[in-house]
Every structure is written in structure tokens, then in C-alpha cells.
Symmetry: C2
Subunit: 157 residues, 2 copies
């Protein structure tokens, strides 16, 4: 399979990865969540090649994850902001960050903490069940085909 045919897969993970699975894309989004909005700020913070950044931003805009808006007319200058759809990626990113914290932080601890403004405490994200509200253990999950499942040979989820 080619990477660029991922979007045609029936699997939701594959479709998500077609959008954010490219190299650098999640790091670009990390910057966006840290309120970075301008081309050169992204480029400087990430040390990414301009061309790659331009491609990633254009792709994310095309997919509706970021919105590109003019913030100045003369000369035209643009900024990139997360859309609602983009904000929807926060749980995934935070889960990865906390996994990184758990397994790769030095003995001093994590480099960045997240505070829940609502309750005022630093927190880790906990995956809970939308049905019963309890924390979910990976071993307590089983999968079964949903309404959008196609008859197929390949797995898809």
C-alpha cells in the first residue's frame, strides 16, 4: 500500500494518519497549541525546512485543522489558527505527551506541565468511558464492526 492512499482506507486511524501522520505535522500542531501562529515562528521553533513547513501548513489548512487568515494587508501576512476540528486533536496529543513523560522524561520529571484551569491543578489526562465515566483499561476494551464497516479482507478500525 502507498502512504498517500491511506485516506481511502475504511479505517479511522488510517484516515486520521492521512491528515496528521506525516513527519513534523504533530510537532507543527504542538506549536499551534502553544499559541504559535506565524510561519517564521513555526520554522524557528521547530528548525524545520521551509518547504516542508509550507507543505504541512497547506495540508492542514486544506483539511480544516488550521485556518489561514490575513492579519495584515500591506504586505499580506497570514496566521494559522486551530479550528474546532484542530482542537479535537488535543486529547490525542496530550495522551502522547503524557506517554512521553511517563517513559522518556529524565529523572527530574516532565519538561512541561498542564494545568486544568477549571480545577486549578496540574493533571495528566485519563481516558474514561463516555458511557459509564470510569477510567478505561486497554485490556477491558473489545472491538466489533460498526455501521460503517465494509466486508473486507483487511483489518480496519
Amino acid at each position: 500500500m502507498r502512504w498517500d492512499s491511506l485516506a481511502d482506507e475504511q479505517c479511522s486511524l488510517a484516515r486520521a494518519l492521512a491528515v496528521i501522520g506525516d513527519r513534523w505535522t504533530l510537532l507543527v500542531l504542538r506549536e499551534a497549541f502553544l499559541k504559535v501562529r506565524r510561519f517564521d515562528d513555526f520554522r524557528e521553533n521547530l528548525g524545520i525546512a521551509r518547504q516542508v513547513l509550507a507543505e504541512r501548513l497547506a495540508h492542514l489548512v486544506e483539511e480544516g485543522v488550521l485556518a489561514k487568515t490575513l492579519y495584515q494587508d500591506n504586505p499580506p501576512r497570514y496566521e494559522y489558527r486551530l479550528t474546532e476540528k484542530g482542537l479535537g486533536l488535543y486529547p490525542a496529543i496530550l495522551a502522547l505527551v503524557h506517554w512521553g513523560d511517563a517513559h522518556y522524561a529524565g529523572r527530574k520529571g516532565p519538561p512541561l506541565l498542564h494545568r486544568h484551569k477549571t480545577c486549578g491543578h496540574d493533571f495528566r489526562s485519563v481516558m474514561t468511558c463516555s458511557a459509564c465515566g470510569e477510567a478505561v483499561d486497554p485490556r477491558a476494551v473489545e472491538t466489533h464492526p460498526g455501521p460503517g464497516a465494509a466486508r473486507r479482507k483487511r483489518n480496519g478500525g
Copy 2:
């Protein structure tokens, strides 16, 4: 910045991506979560080049995400199983799957559903706060440097 120097970043997301940010890696892990354990099953389900699969599996084993164990002596045959560390990626993967479901499932609905065995219901994962137990809105999170933060020019989270 080079992609292969990601692991040296202080940012936990970068470190996580150094492990699972390669093309195909998350799809390999999806298969692992769907109980796939053998080389050729991974290869067939994913349609991935053998060489790339061999590399990805080796890398995941090296990082302790998968464990490679002999399940047959003659000829030697190995299987790849998720470790505890690997299971720790489930929240991130599920968050991505649910994001894909929300934005890219056809009108029929998601191709795969997840059932919480503990309560018996199909569910979506909800990101909740480890401190107060409430669901967390991305806008209600603010970040601040943690104990492992280095003085630095670049952002890191």
C-alpha cells in the same frame, strides 16, 4: 532539525514521536491492538513493504513497546506482543481513532466500535482530568514549565 535527532529534544511529544512517529508505526500498533502478532499477518493486513515492516518491528522491540518472543523452535518463529509500555499508547491511538470517526467516517458511521467490557457499552474515550475527574476542554488547559524544563530558546512540551 533532523528527524533522527528528535529523541534528543527535551519535549515529551518529540520523544514520543521519535518512537512512534514514523510512517506505518501507528498502523503496526493498531494491528497489535487487534491481536495481530506475526510478521506475515502484519504485512498482509497493512500491505506494507517487508523491509519497512522489519525495521518498524525491530525499532518497537528496541524501544520496549513490543516484545519479540519465540513461539516455535523448528524453524524458529517469533511473535510480537505489546508490552505494558505499548499498552500505554492505547489512549493516544483511541483518541486518534475517535477523531477520525468524528471527521472522516462516512454517513453510515464508524467502521469499528469499541466496547468497554467493564460496563458493557460501546463508548468513545473522554479526556478527563486526573485531579478533579471532570472532562477537560482544550481551552481550559494552560501549560507551564515543569521540573525537567531546561532553559532554552525553543519551545518544548
